[in-house]
């Protein structure tokens, strides 16, 4: 068994290039659930927690667009504790506060939530609504992947073999934007979502604009609710737009019955949640 602990991004990329069988790990909160037998069968892991390039939260300006970049190995506790994230992206702080309990938030990382690629990942709809960009490192150096193109199928991502997530870029939203996050689970804490939804948008000149809506646990991947966005774009905020948004959202997803919920309930809950979120646009 090999357990590598690289101390720089270059070192990690070199290891990954030389050995496609290495499994990248960070907070291990999803991985360890497989149980001792499966874990004992693992023979090559590479720990990303010691790589300084994967940590920290920084403001960046690129092509006149300013935003925050969050290192992939940043924990949800660190995200909750960041004044910068709280000021710019309160929906992400809300989502971070609903990932498991305190113990999970101390270990689970943003990059891990993306790479694990569960359709129920709590932070994922928020990143879609915030139009995030994933910055990945591999043998060809760094490349940017629009987050909307990151999830390519059930538990599949656009990362190439040996590529790892370095950080996630979130462009600041226009002045006056509203952000909302809502998770519906069996209980308030420590639950995997039945439906998880995020919205970013604003009202300008009496019209809904810059609207992005996304949902998790309603398809094989976290999805943008593009038909809903289209249906209410340019409309006046209020009950009519909210009703239309809820109905359109329920019609544009194909949830399934599984151990956590039913397709019927997921559609019902999504309609209600989207309706209330659009009502928050004023």
């Amino acid at each position: 068994m090999i357990a590598l602990r690289p101390q720089s991004l270059d070192e990690a990329v070199q290891h990954l290039e030389g050995d496609p069988g290495l499994v990248p790990v960070a907070g291990c909160t999803d991985l360890m659930v497989r149980g001792p037998e499966a874990l004992h069968r693992m023979d090559r892991v590479i720990d990303l927690l010691g790589i300084p390039e994967l940590r920290g939260i920084h403001e960046v300006t690129l092509k006149e667009k300013t935003g925050l970049e969050i290192g992939a190995a940043t924990t949800f506790t660190e995200i909750r504790g960041s004044a910068q994230v709280r000021a710019a992206f309160p929906a992400l702080v809300d989502a971070a506060g609903q990932v498991g309990g305190w113990q999970i938030q101390n270990r689970a990382t943003l990059g891990g939530n993306l790479a694990n690629a569960s359709p129920a990942g709590d932070s994922l709809p928020v990143l879609l609504a915030l139009d995030a960009v994933v910055i990945a490192a591999g043998r060809q150096g760094l490349r940017e992947i629009p987050y909307s193109a990151f999830h390519t199928g059930y538990r599949k991502t656009a990362l190439n073999q040996g590529e790892i997530i370095v950080r996630v870029r979130l462009p600041y939203l226009p002045e006056g934007s509203v952000q909302v996050f809502r998770k519906v689970g069996t209980r308030e804490a420590q639950a995997i979502s039945k439906v998880v939804v995020a919205l970013a948008g604003r009202v300008a000149d009496g019209r809904i604009t810059d609207l992005r809506l996304a949902a998790g646990s309603v398809a094989a991947v976290p999805v943008r609710l593009r038909a809903t966005e289209e249906a209410v774009r340019g409309r006046a905020p209020g009950a009519d737009a909210a009703d239309l948004a809820g109905r359109t959202a329920a019609g544009e997803v194909q949830p399934i019955d599984d151990v956590r919920s039913t397709a019927e309930y997921r559609r019902f809950a999504l309609e209600r949640v989207v309706r209330r979120m659009v009502l928050a646009l004023t």
């Binding site: 068994m1 892991v45 498991g100 113990q103």
Partner: protein, 154 residues
């Protein structure tokens, strides 16, 4: 493979597969059976320990990531004979905070971490801190009464 870390203040060595769960290492190699396995899936909080002072779930920590870290278990944290944790635990007994007892060690570890940061938590702060610890006797009210003596007489 051998890994060294600080366990309740003492340097220790642990051997085993790098992906061995810290929970099993504590119980089987170091006799620290105060740390309980509940669900083994990161849902219940029974196996909570502190890693560098932060509450974490020992069923989800692979041994190799403990190298050089400080691990505190319920045995170490309750050794002190005075202080906010001790006072809370005395009340814990009086309020019936212990029912079947399965969740109690994990809850005590989380309380130790909470009180270390905040000696007078509000009800909301206490509820949030404990949200990762399930008590299936649903004895939360007794636990909160022990933690929130300012609310006495409610």
């Amino acid at each position: 493979m051998s890994h060294s870390f600080l366990l309740n203040g003492q340097p220790v060595e642990a051997t085993g597969h790098p992906m061995e769960r810290l929970l099993d290492v504590l119980r089987e190699q170091h006799g620290r059976t105060g740390t309980k396995e509940g669900c083994g899936e990161g849902e219940c909080g029974a196996c909570t320990v502190l890693m560098d002072g932060e509450p974490v779930l020992s069923c989800l920590i692979p041994l190799f990531q403990c190298e050089g870290r400080r691990i505190d278990t319920v045995e170490g944290l309750t050794a002190q004979e005075s202080g906010p944790l001790r006072e809370t635990l005395e009340r814990f007994i009086a309020t019936g905070g212990v029912q079947c007892g399965a969740c109690t060690p994990g809850i005590v570890v989380t309380l130790a971490a909470l009180l270390e940061r905040n000696e007078n938590p509000s009800r909301e702060e206490a509820r949030e801190a404990l949200s990762g610890n399930l008590c299936r006797c649903t004895g939360y009210e007794g636990i909160l009464r022990a933690l929130l003596p300012g609310e006495a007489g409610r």
